[in-house]
């Protein structure tokens, strides 16, 4: 149920983000979506890719530090209120969110929200109880 996300440490220097993406493309790893969190000195790049393990290895080979983290992918209607409705339910369930990012799909009017919960297992259980469509890695990656 959980989706494996790659995260990597990027220094705030010209060319570092480019080099990281180049390492992934050279290894034939397709990026589905990403988010870059930045501070004044460094950034943390988070990626959802077709093959997380291959992506992590490619980054490490290129000298980056990379790790895989479990995140939860949730499907919401791509309309006003879609995300609000989801967040109302995470609040009800008292789920802690570390960070999140989202992307729209071409399949119907749906959007996918990637959420890093403090406790992903409990989050999946609580969201499903509340009728939220938590999507599986396989389905997400095919969309």
């Amino acid at each position: 149920m959980k989706v494996s996300q790659i995260s990597t440490f990027i220094e705030n220097r010209p060319g570092r983000l480019h080099a990281a993406c180049e390492a992934l493309s050279a290894a034939g790893v397709n990026i589905h979506t990403l988010s870059l969190a930045d501070t004044s000195e460094f950034g943390i790049l988070r990626l959802i890719v077709a093959d997380p393990l291959a992506g992590k290895n490619a980054l490490e080979k290129a000298g980056y530090v990379a790790r895989l983290t479990d995140v939860v992918a949730v499907e919401v209607p791509d309309d006003a209120g879609g995300l609000t409705n989801l967040l109302a339910k995470t609040d009800q369930a008292g789920l802690g969110i570390e960070y999140m990012y989202a992307f729209s799909t071409t399949v119907g009017a749906r959007a996918i929200v990637i959420i890093r919960f403090t406790d992903p297992d409990r989050a999946i259980e609580e969201l499903q109880k509340r009728g939220i469509n938590v999507i599986e890695a396989v389905r997400l990656l095919k969309s």
């Binding site: 996300q5 440490f9 460094f42 943390i44 000298g63 980056y64 790790r67 960070y99 890093r116």
Partner: protein
């Protein structure tokens, strides 16, 4: 027949060449005094600088009657070697000198050291004793990753390894990928290098998919730079070997002045060839055994270039308690810092080793770091750049910021100074293949 035995600390007995390690104290002192008198005489007769300094003090070699008279002799310092560059301190004619080595000369002129055939034999014997103490024996395959050439490390270790009968792989420094290949393909059982280079090697091996813990490698003989106990723990954990500290300096002989034994608790000084004193670096006064100060060494048997009371700048203390290994020669504590590695910032004395232990106090922090001193708007600032390894990396910004603050606080707690900590990518800091350079002083630019 005798030499076919595997003489080492883990077996019975000892290598015949290691016999002086076990001399009864009285006999050792007698030997030291006899050699001291001879070396002072030799230096007085053949080295102008030493003779002039003796004359200034109204001293003659005949006035050296006991070991405690050493303290009456003048000190020799590193600048004496530079001032007499290249051959001014030699006590033998070139026709008797069979080898020259020289320092890299990072701070001006290099220093040059010389060896007669007898000196080379002594050097081989103390290196043999060094390796024997680390449990190396005939049958071991030893990769020597100290640089071969003008640096004393490579050839010094090489001769000792051949003397003990081990199989030497003279890899020299550098070309890390090939080092990893040799380690794996040759079934290397022990390695010699600087500790910082070995850390680099562990890291590179990991990137190449080689886990050193899966190889027959069991011992490392590391020296040529001060390294902390925490760094040793990390090396032993990440590579599955026992990491032995050795001590030496070119001015005295090269590697082979002192060495750890299986107890890994202080370094045995080869006192039959090198006479140690501990002094107060500020006053030059001799301190009692057990007190911490600067190590001063007198070469008791060097012929080509005797060194009388050479100030090593290394801070240590003499351990007089007997060692569990049975050796009677005394030990010095591992060198944690050098009196000239110290830098002064905002009036505070700081040693790189303090920063290293502060970084290692924070759980899981890798010891790849460098210290950059800058002058910003007239104020001296310490910048510490730390590589983010898998142990401290997190996908959460808050966790990374917390790690950053913990590292900064840890350094501040130990040094008492505010520092600017910068987290940088792995492999982004310069790597040394010889002695690690930790401090980059850029204050002259401002």
């Amino acid at each position: 027949m005798l030499l076919r035995e595997n003489w080492n600390d883990t077996g019975q007995g000892f290598h015949p060449v290691s016999a002086p390690d076990y001399l009864p104290a009285a006999q050792l002192r007698e030997l030291q005094l006899r050699r001291l008198k001879a070396v002072v005489e030799r230096a007085y007769e053949h080295v102008a600088l030493f003779r002039e300094r003796m004359n200034e003090r109204d001293l003659t070699p005949a006035r050296i009657e006991s070991l405690s008279d050493v303290s009456r002799l003048p000190f020799t310092v590193k600048t004496d070697l530079r001032d007499t560059y290249p051959f001014g301190l030699f006590a033998s004619p070139m026709s008797e000198i069979v080898r020259l080595h020289a320092s890299s000369g990072t701070t001006g002129k290099p220093i040059v050291v010389a060896y007669t055939q007898e000196d080379i034999q002594v050097w081989s014997s103390v290196m043999l004793r060094t390796f024997a103490a680390a449990g190396i024996h005939r049958g071991d395959i030893v990769q020597n990753a100290y640089g071969y050439g003008l640096f004393t490390g490579g050839l010094g270790a090489h001769y000792g390894l051949e003397a003990i009968g081990a199989t030497v792989v003279p890899a020299s420094g550098g070309n890390t990928d090939r080092q990893v290949m040799l380690l794996r393909d040759f079934g290397v059982t022990a390695i010699c290098s600087t500790p910082s280079y070995f850390l680099h090697l562990i890291e590179r091996a990991h990137d190449l998919g080689v886990d050193l813990r899966d190889l027959p490698l069991r011992a490392g003989i590391f020296g040529a730079e001060p390294w902390s106990t925490a760094m040793r723990d990390r090396i032993e954990k990440d590579s599955g070997i026992k990491a032995y500290d050795i001590y030496g300096l070119s001015e005295i002989i090269g590697p082979g002045v002192g060495s750890e034994c299986s107890a890994q608790d202080g370094l045995h000084l080869f006192e039959d060839h090198f006479y140690p004193e501990i002094i107060d670096p500020a006053t030059g006064e001799v301190l009692a055994d057990g007190e911490e100060g600067e190590l001063v060494l007198t070469t008791l048997s060097k012929r080509a270039m005797p060194m009388i009371r050479y100030r090593t700048r290394d801070i240590t203390r003499i351990i007089t308690e007997p060692c569990s290994c049975g050796r009677t020669i005394r030990r010095i504590q591992r060198i944690g810092r050098r009196s000239d590695d110290m830098f002064i910032i905002r009036g505070v004395n700081v040693f790189p080793s303090q920063i290293e232990s502060a970084l290692l106090a924070v759980e899981g922090a890798l010891p790849h770091y460098r210290i950059v001193l800058k002058r910003e708007r007239g104020l001296d600032q310490i910048h510490v750049e730390i590589e983010v390894g898998p142990e401290i990396f997190s996908d959460k910004v808050s966790a990374m910021e917390e790690m950053h603050d913990r590292l900064a606080h840890s350094i501040e707690r130990i040094t008492g100074l505010r520092v600017a900590v910068h987290l940088v990518e792995p492999h982004s800091l310069p790597r040394s293949e010889g002695k690690a350079k930790r401090v980059w002083d850029e204050r002259n630019d401002g």
